[in-house]
Amino acid sequence: MSEHTYGDRLAIREALQQFGRLNRPVAELADETDLFSVGFTSHATVNVMLAIEDALGIEFPDELLNRSTFVSIEALASAIEISRGQA
């Protein structure tokens, strides 16, 4: 895992911890855990997305604004990579 990816995942986990309103502690979740199965909602996805954008100085493009982008930490990390590529 590159340093960049590690930092991204840390930012994702911090955003989930603060805004995810999940019913399990973020520390217990694997990168592949289905976030919607642990209480992630549409409102929370947007709050988490905005927190990640603030933390990493990126903006998710509209085409990534769908459920599959937010399904797991892994998927969010991929979305961050794509967002950087489009910046």
């Binding site: 603060q18 549409s42 409102h43 947007v46 769908n66």
Partner: protein, 525 residues
Amino acid sequence: MSSFHGWFGDPGIWAAVQLPEAGSLGVVICTPLGQEGVVAYRGLRLLADELQRRGIASVRYDPPGRGDAAPSTDPQAPIQGARLAAEVLRGSGCTHIAYVGLSSAALIASAAAAPGEILVLWSPPASGRVWLRRSRSLATIMIGPDRQFGQVESLIGLDLDPAQAAVLEAIKLALPGGAPALIARRPGEPVPSGLSGATKTEVEGTAEFLDTSSVSSVMPSAAITTIADWLLAQASEPTPLQPPALRPELTLDHSVERIRWIGPNQLFAIECTPRENSGTTPVVVLHAGASEHRVGAGDYQVELARLLAADGVGSIRADRRGAGETGSVGPTEPTMFYTQAWLEDQDAIVADLEVSGDQLALTGLCAGAWMAGHRTTTNPRLVVGIHPLEFSVEPFAPNEFVDEVVMPRELTNPFMLALQRLYRRWAPVWVRRLRARAAAKADAGPYLVDLAKRADRTVLIFSEIDQEVFRRLGGTDAAARLPGIELVNVATLDHPLFARQTRHRVIAEVRSQVADAFGLPKPTQ
């Protein structure tokens, strides 16, 4: 304690004013935009009650172009509406004005407040631009490609043309100065820049109150107490207050709207009649979805009511128990989803109309569709169920229904499939009823059989989600064997009618079906 409802100004705002006998401070509770305003409705009513208990007057309102107010596309209407609401309170004798704005309404409150007026910003976004970015993202996730409809974009329950969006986007939060201000933010939420002169406090429960549906919303009692107590500390010596100068009806090009209080539970309702009322006008009962109040998602019930009036048809949109203005509001009120109380409310509305069945149509969205399809005091000529999801013949107990779409399990075993087909084809109604009462998700058959017996004609309009639920519950097969039931499928995932495009289609379908049922000219869409 006194409350008053009606319209004020031109174009008219709809206003609900609560006055103590004497007071000095009048609070304009700004209405959050779109679905936020629908979800927050009862909580903001509780805030008005708490203010009244402290000797503080308040007004809740719909600005021109939203909810029950007169139509308007003026981009400044939300801000002008807040100032008109303040005028109502000044006219009643309030000497000081405060604006309270929750979330998107914080933008409106900040823009409307003049120097010397008190400001309370509850969970404010950083700016109009930030709020719009968040709302567009949420709408793209929840609505998808249906979000854009010509020049109009749909957020969640809110349509904006480019000029309206530009006005909201340009709002930067600022303090009016010359009076105290409070920022009540969520834990950890940053304070927007430009508000350094305000008192700051953290309040719990905003996410549980606002970031959810009208059914799951939890009343933020502690936050409301904090805000009401802070406002009380700003009030000065009380003076006697006068009833507000509200108009009891709203006259538009094609319709007249009047406030009604219906039945033993005093359901708050607005009737909408054609301006040229013949006396034998058909009437459509409009039931909103979820626990939403009478305007419905994206105000679709108001738009439909006014278009029906132009077609020569009257309507009534009511707040059933647990919604909108009806009944008292408390910090722990039960969820009345799919309850006997709601069926009794429908009976009260129908009885109050005093029309014969051949002049009556019942319509509703989702939970409202379930109500419209149930037996009531008069058999209607037409039932239009919009996006129905529940087909239980028996009501649920308060708090029993869980707010989530559970897709019924589909059988794959060939033997079980054959058994299911036989059951759906041959099982007598009494067996189906017994099974429906016991099943977690009721088979649609008994509900449809009842409906076919009572209504001359039934039209069920489905989005893709509820269409699949209906099919799995055996509804498609059952409807094919019953007389007078028509199924209309709309290619959208927008079950709640958040998108303009979906509402446009549904409204056109309802008007067309009503015209057919009552022998009226086909409406021009």
